[in-house]
């Protein structure tokens, strides 16, 4: 095949592939243009998750009549003159590619009037070629409508995710810009329904309440910090240590008003929580980092999601110090007395002076072993086992399921968390929470397979309000949630009414469980993974299982062990952690130097 120069249209489409990946990238580019044009009001309307129509209207400067055509040419921009300018770039965009790229893969209509001109221009482009152009009356500012995205690049179109996924992405993008620009009023509607609105009051706190939800924001702490030279400063909010999640996605970093991904800086935030959070749990944070433009190189990545710093260590330490200081200050304030929660403490009080001095002499009875025969063991009053707070169901007694573990004898409980048992091959230590989780999980899955999960209807007095992206996620999975027993009903913008909950969970806060489920849904959606229902069930079981720190009666322990003995895979909990440790008789003998 002979070598030839590619046609402009093809070049544009290839370039578009870098910048315009999905509908949310269009929104990102258009919102950035609006912000660079000094807009104070930005209205975003999306239909069909961006496939049908996306429109971004702003009240910025607008484009002069003479420049409208040029704006859609490749490498045409008003934001940059010389290569030197790149080193102190103040605007969000500068590459001059966005409009050209968008126009090359969609139908674009632009209506704009420059502030200083009397009349505006409307222009329609199809696949990058100008279709019509006329002079119109319009308010100052720019309205860009993008329709039929990817109509001429079927490969891209095919790779678009489900409509709800794209909706969620768009909501995330708009949230990010609203946070970065608190003085700009954002309005997002999807399919003619208001999804998000920020007040434009200039207060970061106001936007965060709108973007993250009041419940989340209430638990966030304000931070601020600076380096010695006063060049780098950090401002923002970070979560209190008791609020954490399973992934880092809620650590949002903004450098000079630009959202960036930076592993090292988010690590700085996580690092600041060292010893305050369990491993594998991460805080939420929104941090505004400002530094002189020449200190940062934004021309690294086509969508500018990554940046390079001249002095990354300095920024790292400013962030780490600012967050750490706030967390430590908080940790030092004395905590209020919380009403008697079940906890293991108090069980281990030191014997008082008196009891140590006075000794009870033992009578040497020479028992063979304490309680070798059933009648020697203390009788348990079965009437008193109606402790429904821990709700450990009576286990299967018949032999219908094969035994997967040897018979275990319960000896006792350690630290209100582990059950000590004896089996034919030595000693087994069992994690009560993990074991119960496994039992509930297998029961629930069995019920689920038999089409019989039990839901308890609620008095319908509780609603749950979520930030827009999470609300989409819930909407996407309403059916799966329903199948497991969560009856949720849309109840206004991003709010759901809880109609029913899985019966297993009726003693727990449904809001908390749903929060956990969202968390789990957000992280992994890799193919070949467990189904969504399975994931939800796992989360439900984790909440319903007896907690570590709960003191169990002998019968309750017995019941857990009996049921665990008949689980299909008793050795791990549904999340993969071990349920038991085994110490063989040989090992014990070795440890004691008998072998």
């Amino acid at each position: 095949m002979p070598i030839h120069v590619l046609a402009d249209q093809v070049v544009a489409q290839i370039a578009a592939g870098e910048v315009i990946e999905r509908p949310s990238s269009v929104i990102k580019e258009l919102v950035e243009n609006a912000l660079d044009a000094g807009a104070s009001n930005i209205r975003i309307s999306v239909d069909g998750g961006g496939r049908r129509m996306m429109r971004v209207s702003d009240d910025g400067y607008g484009i002069t009549t003479s420049e409208v055509e040029l704006a859609f040419a490749r490498h045409a921009t008003s934001k940059l003159q010389t290569a030197d300018d790149l080193s102190h770039i103040q605007t969000l965009g500068f590459r001059g590619e966005a409009l050209a790229s968008i126009a090359s893969v969609s139908h674009v209509t632009v209506t704009t009037r420059h502030r200083d001109e009397a009349s505006g221009t409307q222009m329609r482009l199809e696949g990058g070629r100008i279709d019509t152009r006329r002079s119109v009356g319009a308010p100052a500012g720019t309205v860009i409508t993008v329709e039929n995205l990817f109509y001429n690049t079927p490969a891209r179109f095919k790779f678009l995710k489900a409509e709800n996924t794209e909706k969620r992405q768009i909501a995330i993008v708009v949230n990010r810009y609203a946070i970065a620009y608190p003085h700009v009023r954002f309005f997002l509607e999807q399919d003619e329904r208001e999804v998000f609105r920020s007040s434009g009051s200039g207060e970061l706190a106001d936007v965060l309440v709108a973007a993250l939800g009041l419940d989340t924001f209430r638990d966030m702490l304000e931070i601020s910090g600076q380096d010695e030279a006063g060049q780098i400063s950090v401002y923002g909010y970070t979560s209190a240590p008791h609020m954490h999640r399973a992934d880092r996605s809620r650590i949002m970093l903004f450098v000079n008003g630009r959202w960036v991904q930076d592993t090292s800086l988010s690590y700085a935030v996580v690092q600041a929580y060292h010893t305050f959070l369990m491993t594998g749990r991460y805080p939420s944070a929104v941090l505004m980092i400002s530094l002189p433009p020449q200190e940062v190189d934004v021309n690294v990545h086509p969508t500018k999601a990554e940046v390079r710093f001249q002095n990354p260590n300095a920024i790292f330490s400013v962030i780490q110090r600012a967050v750490r200081r706030t967390i430590i200050d908080l940790a030092q304030t004395p905590s209020l007395h919380t009403p008697g929660r079940a906890s293991g403490d108090g069980q281990w009080t030191r014997p008082s002076d008196d009891s140590r001095r006075a000794m009870q002499m033992g009578m040497d009875l020479r028992l063979e072993s304490p309680g070798q025969f059933p009648h020697q063991r203390p009788r348990h009053d079965y009437e008193n086992t109606e402790r429904d707070s821990t709700a450990i169901p009576y286990g299967p007694t018949g032999p219908e399921r094969p035994r997967t573990l040897p018979m275990l004898r319960v000896i006792g409980q350690v630290g209100a968390s582990y059950i000590v048992t004896e089996g034919p091959a030595g000693m087994y230590l069992i994690d009560q929470h993990a074991a119960h989780e496994r039992i509930l999980y297998e029961q629930f899955m069995a019920d689920y397979a038999k089409q019989g999960t039990i839901a308890q209807y609620t008095l319908s007095t509780q609603t749950i309000e979520l930030p827009a992206p999470e609300a989409h996620l819930i909407e996407e999975n309403l059916d799966a949630l329903q199948a497991v027993g969560f009856g949720l009903e849309s109840f206004g913008t991003n709010t759901f009414l809880i109609r029913s909950v899985p019966a297993m969970l009726s003693d727990h806060s449904p809001v908390e469980v749903i929060g956990g489920i969202i968390n789990e849904l957000e992280i992994g959606k890799e193919p070949g993974q467990a189904t969504i229902e399975e994931k939800i069930i796992k989360r439900v079981c984790r909440h319903a299982a007896v907690k570590a720190g709960t003191v169990l009666s002998h019968d309750e322990m017995q019941s857990i062990i009996r049921q665990l003995e008949r689980c299909d895979s008793p050795h791990t909990c549904p999340h993969g952690r071990p349920t038991m440790l085994h110490m063989s008789g040989d090992q014990l003998a070795r440890e004691f130097g008998r072998k």
């Binding site: 008697g340 839901a455 308890q456 008095l459 007095t461 509780q462 019966a503 806060s509 908390e512």
Partner: protein
């Protein structure tokens, strides 16, 4: 302080106020009981700061020398319970804050903490409302069990109490059921007054009200967020819960498709039998209502508890049924809780279908209503 009391009176008083002693208090003095002389009486008081509840009790005494002291609750109660039913002399040694307890031939010394360290106990004020003791006791027992036990929605761990016109209403809900009880009172409230009282404190009030208590007067919250119940010789004060109690009026169904009248004891026993098996299914038992096949024949209510592993139970109860056949499921434990506190001979069970709430109320009475949400098998 030098006081003489009867052992029976002291033991009884200590058991009443002992319920307001915290298990693991933050302040050491809170595991103590305050003893202080007041005219010719001995005042006993305890306070549970975590619940915001205090109980005060007065017992008759011969006061030779006034004074006050706090003593460890367990030690004092254990000792007094084991004394013989005679006169008990208490003598305080101010210097060592030790009390000398003499009863018959036994002498004990108990170390105490200065009474000035004890938090202030609400004053004995004049009550605002007077309610019959037995009625209040019943009202509390008919609502308090439905309050939430877990504190993930703190407001639901309380009982909503309202005074409006000459009606008093108590209501409790835990998200799955609701119990509402009303009664007429003598006072008239031109403006609605409502408060949410922690269920734990009300349960204590109900426990303390004895057959002698003809009337209980209630002091409504004034400057402090406190409600005070005055029984004969005993006061219970409690902090109120803050927050908005859900509007339960909207939850009570106004109409129904099926209504059946059954004997309370029949239904209770059937529920208890079904519960044995329903335990494995999160308490879910099936309730089937069959209207009479023809005129003159009785209707039937059937209760089924099933465990896939252990077996099942089916109970049939005669009932007079009006309306359509019904098949629904309830958590039997919730039914048992309510049936336990209904003393009337017969109850009415109403519902509009398997996705709608069930309504339980005593026959021919409209001052108590219990709403229970159904359970469903999904998919």
């Amino acid at each position: 302080m030098r006081v003489s009391v009867r052992q029976e009176n002291l033991a009884k008083g200590l058991s009443i106020v002992g319920k307001a002693v915290e298990n693991r208090p933050t302040l050491p003095v809170l595991s103590n009981i305050l003893l202080s002389t007041e005219d010719a009486r001995l005042k006993l008081a305890a306070m549970d700061m975590s619940l915001g509840m205090s109980i005060t009790c007065w017992i008759g005494a011969k006061v030779d020398q006034p004074g006050a002291i706090t003593l460890p609750s367990r030690t004092l109660a254990d000792l007094v319970n084991n004394l013989s039913p005679e006169r008990v002399d208490l003598l305080l040694d101010k210097a060592t804050q030790t009390i000398n307890v003499r009863c018959g031939a036994t002498v004990s010394n108990i170390k105490g903490i200065d009474a000035s360290e004890f938090p202030l106990i609400p004053e004995n004020t004049q009550g605002d409302v007077v309610v019959s003791g037995q009625v209040l006791k019943e009202m509390i027992s008919q609502t308090v069990f439905a309050a939430a036990k877990e504190d993930n929605r703190p407001i639901l761990t309380g009982v909503y109490t309202e005074f409006n016109g000459n009606m008093m209403t108590m209501a409790a809900a835990d998200g799955y059921r609701l119990a509402v009880r009303t009664t007429e009172i003598e006072q008239r409230f031109d403006k609605k007054v409502f408060l949410v009282i922690p269920a734990r404190a009300l349960a204590e009030v109900a426990r303390i009200i004895s057959d002698e208590d003809e009337e209980v007067s209630i002091t409504l919250p004034g400057e402090r967020d406190l409600v005070l119940f005055h029984m004969k010789n005993t006061n219970v004060s409690s902090q109120l819960l803050e927050g908005k109690f859900p509007d339960f009026g909207a939850i009570i169904p106004r109409s129904y498709n099926t209504s059946s009248v059954v004997y309370t004891s029949d239904l209770l026993r059937a529920c208890k039998r079904a519960e044995i098996f329903a335990r494995d299914a999160a308490g879910s038992a099936q309730l089937i209502v069959k209207p009479p096949k023809g005129p003159g024949e009785p209707g039937e209510v059937v209760l089924v508890g099933k465990s896939s592993e252990r077996g099942d139970n089916t109970g049939m109860i005669d009932a007079s049924v009006e309306g359509e056949p019904l098949e629904t499921s309830f958590n039997v434990k919730y039914l048992i809780d309510a049936l336990n506190v209904i003393s009337d001979e017969r109850v009415v069970l109403q519902s509009s279908g398997s996705a709608n709430p069930g309504v339980l109320r005593p026959e021919n009475r409209d001052d108590f209503v219990y709403i229970v949400m159904p359970m469903a098998t999904q998919r």
